[in-house]
Structures are given as structure tokens and as C-alpha cells.
């Protein structure tokens, strides 16, 4: 199902059972991932395009997400000005051990830009000193003090999230 909440920058495609039930799409072959496994294996295919194209692709991906052949996807509601990409981005999530199967589906839907990103790469960039976090702080026009608070908050959130490597990964609030 497509989750389009105006207060969120992202529009999500997740299984109905994930949204309403207790299913967690972050799994591999039906088994939920630990924090360690999440950092080792979880990632995404990324796709660039205008938002209208990504919205069309999201509708095509949705049935595969409901069948759990594609775990989940999300895309930008609008271009993120701070990052100066000039395009929106869609992330199609899966475990790297199933990424070729997911890629085959995307390929059949007309995607031809093949780029894989591990989630750990993204997380590193949102930590203090990471390119994404620093650029976001600058783009928001924050004072040094505000920026420092944001950095501390990010550091603490990541520390708490991954403090037990063997605990089941609980997701990232977005």
C-alpha cells in the first residue's frame, strides 16, 4: 500500500500487513534481521527521476510489495533543495542477498539505472561529520549551537539504535 502523509517528506510503499499488522518488512526469507545483520546486509536500489515518474513506478511496485517479493520502497515528495540534486530519488529496499531478484522485478518495470547502496553507508553520512547531516545543518541555516545539538541528538539516536548488535532491528523513524 502507498502511504502518503503530507507531513512526511517521503511517500512510502509498504505491505498492508506491515502498516496494520505485526509483519516487519525488514527481514530475509521471513526472519527478522538483527542490528548487526541490518548493517551488514540491508540496503536499497536507488532510482532518479521526476516525482511524477517515481509516483507511477511506486504504483507498479505496490503489488510486488503486497506479495512480499519487494520488501518496501520510498520516494521524495519533492526535490530536497539542500542537497541540490535536481531530481527526486526512490529507494527500493531489500536484503543484499535478494537484491538480484528485486532488481529483476525493477528491470521488468522499466528501470535501467542500477545502483545499490548499503543502508550503513547512508547512516554514516547522517552521523556527526557525515556529509548529509552537515549539509542539512548548513542548509537549514542553523547556528553553531543548534547544529551541535542536532549532532549530539543524531549520535545518541544511533548509539541507542545499535547498542545491542544481536537485538532485532526496530527500524528508523522518518
Amino acid at each position: 500500500m502507498i502511504i502518503d502523509r503530507p507531513e512526511s517528506h517521503f511517500i512510502f510503499v509498504v505491505p498492508r500487513s506491515h502498516f496494520y499488522g505485526d509483519y516487519n518488512y525488514i527481514n530475509y526469507q521471513g526472519r527478522q534481521l538483527t542490528n548487526r545483520e541490518y548493517l551488514d546486509h540491508w540496503g536499497k536500489w536507488i532510482i532518479f527521476g521526476p516525482v511524477e515518474e517515481l509516483a507511477g513506478l511506486a504504483k507498479k511496485i505496490d503489488p510486488y510489495v503486497e506479495k512480499k517479493m519487494v520488501p518496501a520502497a520510498k520516494y521524495d515528495r519533492e526535490i530536497i533543495g539542500e542537497f541540490k540534486l535536481g531530481e527526486c530519488v526512490m529507494c527500493v529496499y531489500c536484503d543484499m542477498r535478494q537484491r538480484e531478484e528485486v532488481w529483476d522485478i525493477l528491470c521488468a518495470l522499466g528501470v535501467d539505472e542500477k545502483m545499490w547502496v548499503f543502508e550503513r553507508e547512508t547512516m554514516e553520512r547522517w552521523l556527526p561529520g557525515g556529509r548529509l547531516l552537515e549539509k542539512w545543518i548548513t542548509g537549514q541555516g542553523m547556528s553553531e549551537e543548534q547544529g551541535e545539538r542536532v549532532r549530539e541528538g543524531a549520535k545518541e539516536r544511533f548509539r541507542k539504535m545499535f547498542e545491542d548488535p544481536e537485538a532485532v532491528f526496530r527500524g528508523v523513524e522518518q
Binding site: 536507488i46 541540490k84 540534486l85 535536481g86 531530481e87 545502483m115 553507508e121 553520512r125
Partner: protein
């Protein structure tokens, strides 16, 4: 051999608005040599995307047939006829 370079809008505008560039190189080459060739042809791309350096800068990701070359052999990754290279800003992976 022929190598296809794909660029997102943010970089295509520095390469005469080309999102796909076919590079004809004489023989199988390492990625670094092909990026040098690209940088010579499009100097603005060299400056902004940091091509032609000894290492891939942190602010870009370079993919060889879909795989981030940081997990391959970086600039020493060997390219073959028909391969695809994609260069994207690291921000895109957020």
C-alpha cells in the same frame, strides 16, 4: 571498446546536458583512466564531481554495472566493452 557513462541531472548539466555519454576507448581500461578521459572532455564535471583524482572523493559514488566501486577495486576496477559507469552525488543515497 565502448563504455556507457550515465549521469543524473545535477552532473549532466556540466556535460552539455547529456545524461548518457558513450566513451569509445581503445582497449580494456581501468576505471581511473576512463574517468580521466571523461574529465578531459568535460572540465566542469572534473571540478564539481572531483574526477581525475587519485581516489574517488567522498562526495560522489561511482558504480560499475550497478556495484559501488568502493566495494570493487576502486579506480583500478577493470572495465570491459559494454560496461556501464554511473556517477552520482553521495547525497542521492540518503
Amino acid at each position: 571498446m565502448m563504455v556507457l557513462v550515465k549521469l543524473p541531472s545535477v552532473f549532466a548539466c556540466l556535460a552539455k546536458d547529456q545524461k548518457r555519454i558513450r566513451l569509445d576507448v581503445e582497449e580494456e581500461r581501468q576505471l581511473g583512466a576512463v574517468l580521466d578521459l571523461l574529465a578531459r572532455s568535460y572540465p566542469e564535471l572534473r571540478e564539481v564531481a572531483g574526477l581525475g583524482l587519485e581516489e574517488i572523493p567522498d562526495h560522489i559514488n561511482v558504480y560499475h554495472n550497478g556495484e559501488n566501486v568502493r566495494y570493487l577495486k576502486g579506480l583500478n576496477t577493470m572495465l570491459h566493452d559494454g560496461d556501464t559507469v554511473q556517477i552520482i552525488p553521495a547525497e542521492a543515497a540518503g
